[in-house]
């Protein structure tokens, strides 16, 4: 079982380099997942199906990016560089997000002929959100106390998001045949990648051994059970075992979509990272 039961502070963590490594590996996954999906959410600004929803949707992207910032700041505290540098100066191959969150919102560019898919946005946000819920709950028991503490803070905000996605999934699933069809197509697409969400990366064994988070299988089962329940309630067919992309995001393998995203999100900062922006 866990080699260290409770690590209260950064200083305490730093006494064991192996522990720091495992903690950092996990934090990169948590931070990059939220950061990249929030980035995808920010591309939707001004383009959502209804003005009121545009406003509501943006808050969730902001909250999610706010969570990413908290994780990046924990990495900064561990001595891994400035949070802004971590977020913007790494190359795509250094990102540890799951492939699901980096996929584009649809055809086109956010500023040039976007043909974005609202059904995909809803399904991806909700499926990711359900996994995030399981992950945050597991983190409440983390051996790294500061991580357990921030997770508790995030959970409240996150439950509010789930309520939002719940309404959307349920209404699209039980409305017109066209919406139902689009929703099912989006579920299929999301399902091709979703299996990677509970992947803890190449260093999974250490992450679990140090009690940073529960094991992959536990996370996966809990998440699948919850999702199955939600789909059933919405009257949706269960799509079976989720797959994973051929690239493994948790190991730094990414699609061209992430390369483009990283280039865009760091475009200004890279002009002069030493300058004050």
């Amino acid at each position: 079982m866990a080699d260290m039961v409770r690590v209260e502070t950064v200083e305490q963590a730093k006494q064991n380099q192996e522990y720091v490594q495992a903690l950092a590996d996990l934090l990169f996954q948590l931070a990059d997942d939220d950061f990249i999906l929030a980035y995808r959410g920010s591309e939707w600004l001004g383009l959502a199906p209804h003005i009121e929803e545009d406003v509501a949707f943006s808050s969730m992207s902001q909250d999610m990016m706010g969570h990413a910032v908290m994780f990046y700041e924990m990495l900064e505290a561990l001595g891994l560089g400035k949070a802004d540098d971590i977020a913007q100066l790494r190359e795509a191959k250094d990102f540890r997000n799951a492939i699901l969150v980096e996929r584009k919102n649809g055809a086109g560019d956010y500023n040039d002929n976007p043909h974005y898919d609202w059904a995909y946005a809803i399904v991806r946000s909700y499926v990711y959100g359900l996994h995030k819920q399981v992950r945050l709950e597991a983190l409440l028991q983390s051996s790294y106390v500061p991580l357990a503490q921030v997770s508790r803070k995030m959970l409240t905000e996150h439950r509010y998001h789930l309520m939002h996605w719940q309404v959307w999934l349920n209404q699209l699933a039980n409305s017109t045949p066209d919406a139902r069809h689009k929703l099912e197509a989006a579920i299929s697409l999301v399902w091709e990648d979703a299996g990677e969400l509970s992947d803890l990366g190449p260093n999974a064994e250490q992450i679990v051994r140090y009690g940073l988070i529960a094991g992959e299988e536990l996370l996966r089962q809990k998440w699948l059970n919850e999702t199955k329940e939600i789909f059933k309630k919405a009257g949706l067919n269960w799509p079976g075992e989720p797959g994973a992309a051929s690239e493994r995001g948790r190991a730094g393998e990414h699609t061209v979509d992430l390369e483009q995203a990283v280039a865009t999100l760091s475009e200004v900062y890279r002009i002069d990272p030493a300058a004050s922006w």
């Binding site: 209804h50 003005i51 406003v55 509501a56 939002h164 309404v167 209404q171």
Partner: protein, 113 residues
């Protein structure tokens, strides 16, 4: 330009409570197809920075109110001081008089003994 199927959503009025002791207050209105969607959008549209403890959405059609012609009838004559503290402004000075009279009597009794 009217299209074959129009999506004229309904108007929902949004009310919110700042904290547990505050009353619900009207915020603004939004367009939504049904109450569930209206409720999920309500806070972010009108309370992005303000505290929000609880929320209601009410379909505007379900609100019954006064016509503009009837509203002026809400005005009252200013002759209801018996309902307000200002109608009882003499109480303090009367209590003070009683207290002073009592204290004077006490003083006299002491010096007289």
């Amino acid at each position: 330009m009217s299209t074959e199927t129009r999506n004229d959503f309904f108007i929902y009025e949004v009310f919110s409570q700042k904290n547990v002791t505050a009353s619900f207050a009207h915020q603004f209105s939004l367009l939504a197809p049904n109450k569930e969607v209206a409720l999920t959008m309500a806070r972010e549209n009108f309370l992005r920075r303000e505290p929000c403890f609880n929320l209601w959405v009410v379909k505007r059609d379900d609100i019954f109110g006064l016509t503009p012609e009837e509203r002026p009838f809400l005005e009252r004559l200013d002759n209801k001081s018996y309902r307000e503290t200002k109608g009882y402004g003499d109480l303090q000075s009367r209590w003070r008089q009683h207290k002073e009279r009592y204290e004077d009597q006490q003083k006299q009794a002491k010096s007289g003994s």
